[in-house]
């Protein structure tokens, strides 16, 4: 049982490049989330999904897109990366909604030059 995994672990992009971050969970969870964490700050919710084929905006969605084509996968896309998107990205999943326990992945560290 791998839990929540994220790919890649680290990436360097140039401004304007695009990339996709992959999150996978093997716990059959309905809910999945993407957060970003900047130095010295808490996590901020980017987008979330309440089930396969559904996505919704979180607190800081601008500049990101997401897709949930399969229940176990949640993809975060950056169409045109900007230096302000330099951050650590965490994916999480939960079985139920609300404040039910969220299980987090190890994070993806992204540097945009």
């Amino acid at each position: 049982n791998a839990g929540v995994t994220q790919t890649p672990k680290f990436r360097v992009l140039k401004t304007g490049q695009s990339m996709t971050l992959l999150c996978a969970q093997d716990m059959n969870h309905e809910y999945m989330y993407w957060y970003r964490q900047d130095p010295g700050m808490g996590l901020r919710l980017i987008h979330y999904s309440v089930g396969e084929g559904t996505t919704a905006k979180g607190e800081v969605p601008d500049g990101y897109n997401v897709s949930r084509l399969k229940k176990q996968n949640f993809l975060l896309g950056l169409e045109s990366a900007a230096p302000s998107q330099t951050s650590v990205y965490f994916c999480a999943s939960s079985y139920l909604q609300g404040s039910e326990t969220q299980y987090f992945g190890p994070g993806t560290r992204l540097l945009v030059l």
């Binding site: 929540v4 808490g42 919710l45 979330y48 309440v50 909604q97 609300g98 404040s99 969220q102």
Partner: protein, 111 residues
């Protein structure tokens, strides 16, 4: 969403008990209180959750007074490995709610 307030940082020594208090004056009737722990370069990890009175597990205890306007996470006999950031969150378990992670409390345990 109920706003939470917790100390920015705390220092302790190995073997001591650490109590981190979180204020949530606007907590709603259906809200639960949840604490997460985050080590450097890792994602947050669930520690404990409660609704009222006291909850204890193998890692920590959570004390919630009758008015539920605050809660205290208690870590018994901390070790160096308990150095981490601790987040207090408040949210309902019914109906989707976007959890808000504040800046947390940075706990430093020294030898």
């Amino acid at each position: 969403l109920a706003k939470t307030t917790q100390p920015i940082s705390m220092d302790s020594y190995e073997g001591q008990e650490v109590n981190i208090t979180c204020s949530h004056n606007n907590i709603a009737t259906n809200d639960y209180i949840t604490w997460y722990q985050q080590f450097p370069s890792q994602g947050p990890r669930f520690i404990i959750q409660g609704y009222k009175t006291k909850v204890t597990n193998e890692v920590a205890s959570l004390f919630i007074p009758a008015d539920r306007k605050s809660s205290t996470l208690s870590l018994p006999r901390v070790s160096l490995s308990d150095t981490a950031v601790y987040y207090c969150l408040v949210g309902t378990r019914t109906g989707f709610q976007k959890l808000v992670f504040g800046t947390g409390t940075r706990l430093l345990v020294s030898p």
